[in-house]
């Protein structure tokens, strides 16, 4: 492989790495090298072996075969702590922070500095401040982590890694929970670390971001190594093709015209985090909701379905005024919401697939005793409709890939036959193949005459799916865009509270 920046040294290398779980090999001899001062993107669909490879290289699991080198010398990591001592740090997608403790306590967690028998709090605080300043993180060293915005929590994770003198940093889906602005500042930080000689492995499903930040890419498919190549000149479409192994045509489905009937009409609705928001949804329409993190999109939808109290304003469904006090009431009126927090609020990860599937519409199967046969038949039909293929309905929901979890959540909600479906971040953390399928389902649901509202931080998704786009900023709806106005620039202007693009 040629190197654009000459022969920089290989910091961490894995060669011929294999991993078997029982009789099944999931990683079939992968080579992977991380050089000093490069951003190396690791691409692949869910199940391609990315996370297994990362786990091996960060000391979380041991390979079944193959060797690992650090600075050219053969090594092996007995544990994560072992790898971290060698400067190899993995930052998980779900942060590993003690939420109730302060920023500085988290940074030094498990490696507290001591002065004699006591903690050297002053020195730790000074060092924490230095690290946070260096990262340009606005959070105070004494702030409680639970109260920080998600972007700051990520900074704390990175500060924690830097305090461990990280030389190789694995970032697993770091931008999945970040807004565009937060992503931009993360990328600045990545460039800074790179300049300091840190090797960064960047794992993401957002291919445009990969194209922007990566120096090299490695693509895995089905546990095998497809290619490693300089990132320059590889377009996101080519990356997707390499990952899937086929062309992805018609990524976004057709948009059949919606009817003129107003299905849902929300006027001047105020709720915690929402100020006088108005919008309307037509039958057969896909409505996009764009905005920065914390703009109030989720708060608005959760207020509509009865999770939070509505302070003022009206909600009309098919012309009739509604005030939902609970999710049970909105469900009865056939209005349903899919949370963006699949793992925390959407699915019972420790329960089986059937249990999860029927939970939302359980009354259907209770007469008054549960009819398991009917439940199982509905499960088979419902999961087939969303192309959820699982080895057994007895599996726990937590064992499914992100894409399959999202399909399960969709099937669960659809079992209640909603006429209004609100989907928050429909494709967060799921692979390209499943993404295209979810887009297809959204278009189909609208074509069936339902109304679909899509909340997303990914603008291409909003633009590709929606008939109209409402943009929110600071709790208020700042714009309603249609036709040619639906473009990234205009949306971002409204989302930043700047008003129409022309006026900016």
């Amino acid at each position: 492989m040629t190197m654009p920046q000459g022969q920089t040294s290989v910091l961490l290398g894995g060669y011929g790495l294999r991993k078997s779980y029982g009789p099944v090999e999931v990683l079939h001899g992968i080579d992977f090298e991380i050089r000093a001062g490069e951003v190396h993107a690791l691409l692949g669909e869910n199940g391609a072996g990315k996370s297994t490879l990362v786990k091996i290289l960060s000391g979380l699991v041991a390979p079944s075969a193959g060797r690992i080198t650090l600075d050219g010398d053969q090594t092996s990591f007995a544990s994560v702590a072992d790898a971290e001592d060698a400067g190899v740090v993995l930052i998980h997608q779900e942060f590993n922070l003690a939420e109730l403790r302060s920023v500085e306590e988290n940074i030094f967690l498990g490696r507290e500095w001591r002065k004699g028998l006591l903690l050297d709090k002053a020195a730790m605080r000074a060092e924490a401040r230095r690290l946070l300043d260096q990262l340009k993180c606005p959070a105070a060293a004494t702030a409680q982590v639970a109260g920080l915005p998600v972007a700051d929590k990520q900074m704390v994770e990175i500060a924690k890694a830097m305090s461990r003198k990280a030389r190789v940093l694995f970032l697993d889906e770091p931008t999945a929970v970040l807004t565009k602005a937060e992503t931009a500042s993360l990328f600045l930080l990545v460039k800074q670390l790179k300049a300091e000689g840190v090797g960064i492995v960047f794992i993401s499903h957002k291919l445009d971001e990969v194209a922007e930040i990566a120096d090299r890419i490695t693509v895995l498919r089905d546990g095998t190594h497809v290619t490693s190549t300089p990132a320059a000149g590889v377009t996101p479409e080519e990356m997707a093709r390499l990952m899937v192994g086929r062309e992805l045509s018609d990524f976004y489905p057709e948009k059949p015209d919606p009817s003129a009937d107003i299905l849902l009409d929300v006027e001047n609705l105020s709720a915690p985090g929402v100020q006088r928001a108005s919008f309307d949804l037509r039958r057969g329409e896909v409505l996009g909701f764009a905005g920065l993190q914390g703009a109030g999109r989720t708060a608005l939808m959760e207020a509509i379905i009865g999770l939070h109290p509505v302070e003022e304003g009206s909600v009309r469904l098919n012309g009739a005024a509604q005030a939902f006090d609970s999710v049970a009431q909105s469900k009865a009126a056939r209005v349903a919401y899919l949370t963006k927090d699949r793992k925390g609020k959407g699915l019972l990860l420790g329960n089986d697939l059937v249990w999860n599937f029927s939970l939302f519409a359980l009354d259907k199967f209770a007469t008054p005793f549960l009819n398991r046969k009917a439940e199982r038949a509905a499960f088979d039909a419902g999961t087939q409709a969303v192309d959820l293929r699982a080895a057994s309905p007895k599996l726990n929901a937590g064992s499914l890939s992100g894409g399959n979890q999202q399909k399960l959540l969709l099937a669960k909600i659809l079992e209640a036959d909603p006429q209004v479906i609100i989907i928050d971040e429909p494709t967060r953390g799921i692979d390209v193949g499943a993404k295209a399928q979810i887009y297809g389902f959204i278009a189909d649901l609208a074509a069936e005459g339902r109304g679909v509202i899509v909340l997303s931080s990914e603008l291409p998704e909003i633009i590709g799916l929606s008939h109209r786009v409402f943009v929110m900023h600071d709790g208020a709806v700042t714009g309603c865009l249609s036709d040619a106005d639906i473009n990234e620039e205009t949306i971002m202007h409204y989302a930043s509270g700047l008003g129409p693009a022309r006026a900016a």
Binding site: Y21, G22, P23, V24, E45, N46, G47, A48, D222, L307, S326, V327, A328, S330, K331, Y337, T339, D341, G344, K345, G346, L347, L348, L349, G350, N351, W355, L359, F360, L362, D363, F365, A366, P368, F369, L370, D387, R389, A390, A391, S392, L395, S399, L400, S401, N404, K412, A416, D431, G433, A434, Q437
Partner: protein, 334 residues
């Protein structure tokens, strides 16, 4: 599309069994074998019925505790709730002796009052937890102290005794039998069957366990989580009432020491039975097995000189810790 394939590991002949389900039953069978080896009278019908009868109070209360614990709660107040309920029932029935001659009516009203008091006490626990937003542990720790001191106050530090005539009529509820089956055992069986059906075969039972598994997911799934929790505590209260109704004719009295430590025995029975203390997973059959195991240990120690009877609590403690240890170990491997 890549599919997440979950591979099943090689299975031994026993690995098809659900150990959370069969573990307590296996332990029960083991104890029966040990008991029969130690004493030839152990497996006699009289001794077995004695064991079942002695298990009835804790067993019935533990059925309610299975609902509370699988909904993610805990109820520490059941022992003093039972004492308080028993005390009020006895005072009420004694007082009615001066009002009417119909003793059967007095017993019926006493039983109805017991059922109402227990259920209301459970409701109060549930309301304080959901409306007040206070942890179940703290609320029931508080009500535990309140009921305990109320019964001490009502008995003026001594013992409340049931009128002799009332007790004579009420006596068969504990000492009587139906076709040879003692009434407490019959009631335990009926409560267990009802509890099993409700927990496993109704939407409510599914909701209880879902609230315990993840309250947020339950709320987003259109479940009224507060109502479910209150109902679980009301079921607990009703079970305490049923146990008390069977208990009162046994001694015909209530005092400050009535029902002491019943809450811990009930919780122990639930945990030995395979229900998770953190909620989300309840097993009525396991709970009954757990209650029987606790009684069996005492019975076996009584029948043999191998270990002092004074060590009953120690043996129970070891069994509880071992049961949870085994469940955790098996749970992590699967």
């Amino acid at each position: 599309m890549s599919e997440t394939t979950i591979q099943e590991t090689k299975r031994g002949p026993l690995s098809g069994l659900d150990w959370k389900l069969f573990g307590p039953i296996a332990a029960l069978v083991l104890l029966l074998i040990i008991g029969s080896l130690l004493n030839e009278n152990f497996l006699s019908a009289a001794n077995l019925l004695n064991i079942l009868t002695r298990s009835a109070f804790i067993g019935i209360i533990a059925i309610g505790a299975t609902f509370v614990i699988s909904s993610g709660g805990i109820d520490l107040s059941v022992g003093s709730m039972a004492a308080f309920t028993a005390g009020v029932m006895i005072m009420l029935m004694n007082w009615m002796m001066g009002v009417t001659d119909m003793i059967w009516l007095i017993v019926v009203l006493g039983v109805v009052a017991g059922a109402l008091i227990g259920t209301a006490a459970g409701w109060l626990n549930g309301i304080l937890i959901t409306r007040g937003g206070i942890e179940a542990f703290i609320v029931t720790l508080g009500t535990m102290g309140i009921y305990r001191s109320l019964v001490t106050y009502l008995a003026d530090g001594g013992t409340l005794s049931l009128d002799r005539d009332v007790r004579a009529l009420y006596r068969p509820v504990y000492y009587g039998d139906v076709f040879g089956l003692p009434i407490p055992v019959l009631l335990l069986a009926l409560a267990a069957i009802a509890g099993w059906i409700v927990l496993n075969n109704t939407a409510f039972g599914r909701h209880v366990q879902s609230v315990g598994a993840n309250e947020d997911v339950a709320r987003y799934s259109a479940i009224n989580t507060d109502r479910i929790k209150v109902y679980a505590f009301m079921i607990q209260g009703a079970c305490v009432a049923l146990a008390t109704i069977v208990y009162v004719p046994r001694l015909g009295s209530a005092s400050a020491t009535t029902g002491v430590l019943w809450e811990l025995e009930a919780i122990a029975a639930v945990i030995i039975g395979g229900t998770l203390l953190k909620g989300g997973y309840g097993r009525i059959g396991g709970t009954i097995a757990g209650a029987l195991i606790l009684t069996l240990i005492g019975n076996i120690l009584n029948l043999t000189d191998l270990i002092s009877n004074y060590l009953n609590g120690a043996v129970q403690g070891v069994i509880i810790i071992a049961a949870v240890f085994l469940q955790r170990g098996l749970g992590q491997k699967s």
